[in-house]
Structures are given as structure tokens and as C-alpha cells.
Amino acid sequence: MIFDGFWVLLGVKLLALTVVVIGGSLVIIYAELKVGAHMQNRVGPYYAGVRWGWAQPLADAVKFLQKEDLVPADADTKVFKAAPMVSLMGTMAVFVIVPFSPKLIVRDLDLGIFYALAASSLGTLAMLMAGWSSANKFSLMGGLRAAAQLIAYELPMVLAVVGVVIQAGTLSMVQIVDAQVALGLPYVIGGQAVGFFIFVTASLAELSRTPFDMPIAESELVSGYMTEYSGIRFTMFYLAEYAGLFAAAAIASTLFLGGYHFPGLDVEVWGPFVLLAKVGALAFLMIWFRWTWPRLREDQLQSFAWRWLVPLALANIVVTAVLKVAL
């Protein structure tokens, strides 16, 4: 039974997925360090990796792995230890439905994007667990801020996706790409520009990146809910953040930018590279925002979500639905 074809294939797929996700996260971490450095007139990582510094993320990972496993005395140990694992698993679960090409996908679920949105909200739970179990007032405040922020921005994200789903007529990721191919335009030009803007903004907030990084506001709460974590647990949070960035960029590319398809290129051969290029472009955008803007205050963040993004997303759905029926 253990050598049944299905299980072997599943094992291979998951292994490949893990390698791709971790590898991709390390690349994005390196890009953040280097791109950010050049934007600030600095050089960035230099020594680890023959003057280009490409080995810096690896060096950081090794450094974290050999650190002492600290758990604060007053902490709720079980919850404290579980929080980073929940965070990382929630993010990796999203990758099950990311299509690198029509065949290179762990499983093209019919529920596709709905599953992804559900899995990604596990991260909220992990933040709360971390903030509460750390027995540290600053961590608690960070965890509460994070929970409030993530819940607020979950809604515009889902609503923006609904617009795409209405236009494509399906929840499956591969079929959404097919719908864009049939239309001849990626949805960002073909009617979902507003949806794209809302999705990217809401993803930035879900990932707690500047300008929405109140939960880990370094200058105020030291590191927010992550303050008491060190060593391998911190690495898991750190990887989860960048894996989440990869996931958000990958989903945005598939839903709005046409995914693995590029006119003139054979999807079977070039598909993954096209998708990775689009992911790279979006990741660059997100990194650019982080180094340029200050952060919004918590209540400004909330009011932005509830008073602007949600009504805008609802209007987007109405317009999309009307146009879908009319055209």
C-alpha cells in the first residue's frame, strides 16, 4: 500500500514543492537584501558568496540553526513551540494549487483559489498564538495588532478574488489561466485592474509588510509577536514570511497576470520560467514599497481597509458581474 503509485507521486510532489518553496524564499530574501541595499546607496551582502553575497541567506539559516533553543520561563510552552510550525505549514499549504505549468501543479483542485485563501488564514492563528504565549506585553500587543490587521484585510482580498472568479467562471487555477488565454489579455488589463490593486494591497497587509507592518513595528515593539523567538523557531517565522510573499506573488500572477502563459512561448517548456519571472516582478514591487514608505498607524490601517478597500472591492464585484452578464 505504501508503494502505491498515488502515494509515491504525492511524496515526490510534496518534496519538490518544499524544495521550490524554500529555495524560492531564500532567493527572495537575497533579493530583498540586495535590492534594498542598492536603493539605499549601499552594497548589501558582499562577503558570503564571492563578492555577490548570494550565500548570505544560507549563512543566516545555518547561524540560526545552531542557536540555543530558548523558551521564556513564563511562556505557555506547547503553544509557544507550535506557533511557528502552524505559520509555516499554513503558508506552504497554499502552494498546493500554484500552477507552474498546466501539468506542474501538486493538485489542480476544483476549489483552487478558495482552498488557498482558507489555508493562508492559518497564519493569523499562528500570530495570535505567538503573541499570547510569549508572556511579554510587547509581544501581546503585537499579536493583537496582527490579528486585527489580518482579519481586516482578509475581506478585501477575498472580494478581489471573487471578481476574478466571476469573470473566469471557475475556481480552478489552471482554468483561470485558460480563461485569460482565451480572452487574449491578462486580467489586469482585461477588466480586473481595480481587483489587482486591491489584491496586492491586501496581500501586503496579510504579510505584514511595510506600509502595513505595525505588528512587527521594529522601532516600537522590538519585534512584535516574534520578539521572544530565536534559533530555529525564528527561522520558521522568517521563512514563512518570505514563503508567503512568494505565494502571494504567485497567486497574483496567476489570477491577474496570466500565470505561466506568455504569447509565443510553449507553456510546457517555458511555463515555470514565465511564472517565476512574473513572481519576480511582483516581489520587486513589494520590496520597493517596503524600502520607500513609512508605516501606517493601526487605526489608519483599519480605516483604510474598511472604509476604502471593502467598498471598492464590492463595487468591483458588482461591475464585473454586470459586465459578465451583459457582454
Binding site: 536603493m39 506585553k137 513595528a217 522601532s219 516600537e220 514608505w293 501606517l296 498607524r297 493601526e298
Partner: protein, 395 residues
């Protein structure tokens, strides 16, 4: 929250609204990334809102007023540098001028121009430090790099003249430190400023003005920055005057007052510069005032470079400095605000009593009033905008 038929019990709903959550006492500092040093704020917090704040200072109290009584006049300036360490020379100048007034000595014009030039360069350095650290506290990390890069030019120039980047110890009774060499019998003119100093200063001031223009677009015009700072931490002018808030903080509240235009201790009246004034007294205005002040200070430095007269750097004073009996108060416009020294001399080798009026001490005495009812993230915005250093607060 429903029972028997799915109705919400209104009594239950009311209980959850009136739930009393106990106040949390939050200790901000003394070790904290944003408190500019060892300042401790004991805040009683209700959720994200502050009920009351009690600042606890004194972690850096070095007893300067007592120490000054055990120093000779030339030795005191080495202490005074370190009060407001971002402003170096500007700390020494009022004290030296007070001692000079009691002695009846006046510094030669070249020394006075140098004093003004270095004071303004330290003002630029201190405000650039503010420009770099304030957006960082709000989350933007890039202005830090841009502003500090230009600050290096200014600090290098200061080091070339005085020998120190932060603690120049350059003032002497009767002028500034004269150049080494030129001993008895020599008639040659000693080069008292480093080679290329004047030209290098002009170039550095151009770069400083350029980075101010960068900041206009990057920070001042940024909507998120404006949202975080406009309307936050408003200090009305009357409150500012009562608490003794001075410098850019006072000017941000709309009071057009600058000691450089009013006091006669240095010949600022020969220079052409403006005083930027804010409107509302919020954090944004205080930021803008400091940004403009850098430009005005650069103007003054360029005029000083163009007009610096020749002459000795120090007036003739006796070998052993003896200041006659008397009392004198001299104040000057420090980058942080009004800095003054009340010097009491009874003829000894050192001062009998020096009262140091430091700007940041008065600036943060307004915090208990200002921070009431404010949100926690706004504390950081407000503390940063007051731009204080703990050395100035604690002396």
C-alpha cells in the same frame, strides 16, 4: 450569543460592552529603540490609548553643574561639549562668552566668524541626524542612509578644523583655539584653517541643500508620513511658552522667535537668513521647520565662508585665566532650543556656580501633559518630533 429561538439577549450584549479591562502599565524604555537614549516612560495604557505618562529621567545624570565647580575655566568646556552631543561647539559658546563678558574680553572677528560657522555646521549635522532617525521610527528606513551620507561631509570638515567630530573643545577664552606653531619671534602667518577647507565647505553646503530637496519628495510629500504626523502631538503656543519649550519645537507652534536674531553674543546680524515657522504645532510642522532650518544654516555658512575676515584667532588674555567677580547669563540658539549658562564667579580658578539651562530638559517636561489620551504608536511619532537627547536632559 443567542438563546431560545435565536434571539440575541440584549442584556448579554450590554455586559460585554461594559466589560472593565484593567489598565496595563507599560514601561517604555529605558532600553528601547526609539527613546533617543535612556528615557523611561511609565505609561498607564488602556488598550492602545494612554491614560497617563510619567517620564523617569536621570539615568544619564553626570552632575555637570557640580563638576564645573571643580574645574578651571578652560577645563570646563571639555565637559560642556558632552551635554548635547549632537551640537558639539554650540554647547561651549554661551559659556565661553559669559566668561569673556565677565573678564571684559572680546573675541577677534575671525574667531567670531568661525564660531558662527561651526555652530551652524553643527546645527546642520544635528538636524540631518533628526531627518534620518525620525522617518526610521515611523518605518521608512531609506532617508537614514541619504541624510547620514551628507552628514559625513559636514563632520569631516568639522574634524579638519577642530580635530573632533562630536566633541571639538575648540573654544578658548578670548576666541578659538589658535593654530599650533608660530612661536616666539616668528613673523610668518600660520595657516590656521586646513587647506581646501573653505572650498570644501562650499561644496558640502551644496550637497546638503541637495539632500534637503530629496527629503522633500521622499518624506515630506509622502501621504503616509503626513497621515502619521499631521494633527499628532499638537503643542499650543501658550503651553509651549509656559513649559519653556524652545527652538524648532516652539517655532513649529507658530511663534516666530529665534535667539540668533535677538541676542548679541555673536554677530548674526551681519548674515542674511530667515526663520521658518510652522502653523499648527504638530509633528509635521516640527519636521518641516527643521528641514528648512538646514537650508538656512547652509546659507549662513556660505556667507561666513565668503566673508571671513583675516586676523588672529584669539585675543590677548593672561596666561592664568582669572575671571573677576560677577554674574552673567548668556543664552544661544542650540539646535535643540535655548541653551543658556548662568555663570557666577567669585574670583576663583573655576566658576563658583554654573547653572546650565538645557533645551531638551524643558522640551520634554511637556510630555505628561502632551501624551495624555494619545495612541501608543503616536508616542513614537511625538517623541521623535521633539528631538531631544538624554545628555541634554540629564546633564
Amino acid at each position: 450569543m443567542s438563546s431560545g429561538g435565536g434571539r440575541v439577549l440584549h442584556s448579554e450584549a450590554r455586559v460585554s460592552v461594559e466589560l472593565q479591562t484593567p489598565e496595563m502599565t507599560l514601561n517604555i524604555g529605558p532600553q528601547h529603540p526609539s527613546t533617543h537614549g535612556v528615557l523611561r516612560l511609565v505609561a498607564k495604557v488602556d488598550g492602545e490609548r494612554i491614560d497617563s505618562v510619567e517620564p523617569v529621567v536621570g539615568y544619564m545624570h553626570r552632575g555637570y553643574e557640580k563638576l564645573a565647580e571643580v574645574r578651571t575655566y578652560p577645563q570646563v568646556t571639555a565637559l560642556l561639549n558632552r551635554i548635547d552631543w549632537t551640537a558639539g561647539l554650540a554647547n561651549e559658546v554661551p559659556f565661553i562668552i559669559a566668561a569673556e563678558r565677565l573678564m571684559g574680553v572680546e573675541a577677534p572677528p575671525r574667531a567670531q566668524y568661525l564660531r558662527i560657522m561651526l555652530t551652524e555646521m553643527f546645527r546642520i549635522s544635528a538636524h540631518l541626524l533628526f531627518l534620518s532617525s525620525y522617518p526610521l521610527e515611523l518605518g521608512a528606513s531609506t532617508p537614514l542612509m541619504y541624510a547620514l551620507r551628507e552628514r559625513e561631509h559636514v563632520l569631516d570638515l568639522i574634524e579638519g578644523v577642530t580635530g573632533g567630530r562630536f566633541h571639538p573643545n575648540f573654544n578658548r577664552i578670548g576666541g578659538v583655539k589658535p593654530a599650533a606653531g608660530g612661536g616666539k619671534g616668528q613673523r610668518t602667518v600660520v595657516q590656521d584653517l586646513p587647506e581646501g577647507f573653505l572650498e570644501g565647505t562650499r561644496r558640502a553646503m551644496a550637497k546638503v541643500s541637495a539632500v534637503c530637496d530629496d527629503m522633500e519628495a521622499l518624506v515630506r510629500g509622502n501621504e503616509i508620513f503626513q497621515q502619521r504626523t499631521k494633527g499628532v502631538g499638537i503643542i499650543p503656543a501658550e503651553k509651549a511658552l509656559e513649559y519653556g519649550v524652545s527652538g524648532p519645537n516652539l517655532r513649529g507652534s507658530g511663534v516666530r522667535f529665534d535667539l540668533r536674531k535677538v541676542e548679541a553674543h555673536l554677530p548674526y546680524d551681519r548674515f542674511d537668513f530667515e526663520i521658518p515657522v510652522g502653523e499648527n504645532g504638530d509633528c509635521f510642522d516640527r519636521y518641516v521647520v527643521r528641514l528648512e532650518e538646514i537650508r538656512q544654516a547652509a546659507r549662513i555658512v556660505v556667507q561666513a565662508v565668503d566673508g571671513i575676515p583675516d586676523g588672529p584667532l584669539r585675543a590677548k588674555v593672561p596666561r592664568v585665566i582669572k575671571v573677576p567677580k560677577g554674574e552673567c547669563y548668556v543664552r544661544a540658539e542650540n539646535p535643540k532650543g535655548e541653551m543658556g549658562y548662568y555663570l557666577v564667579s567669585t574670583g576663583g580658578r573655576g566658576p563658583y556656580r554654573v547653572k546650565i539651562r538645557s533645551a531638551s530638559f524643558s522640551n520634554i517636561s511637556v510630555l505628561p501633559w502632551l501624551l495624555e489620551g494619545v495612541l501608543v504608536p503616536d508616542i513614537i511619532a511625538i517623541l521623535g518630533s521633539l528631538d531631544f537627547v538624554l545628555g541634554d536632559v540629564d546633564r
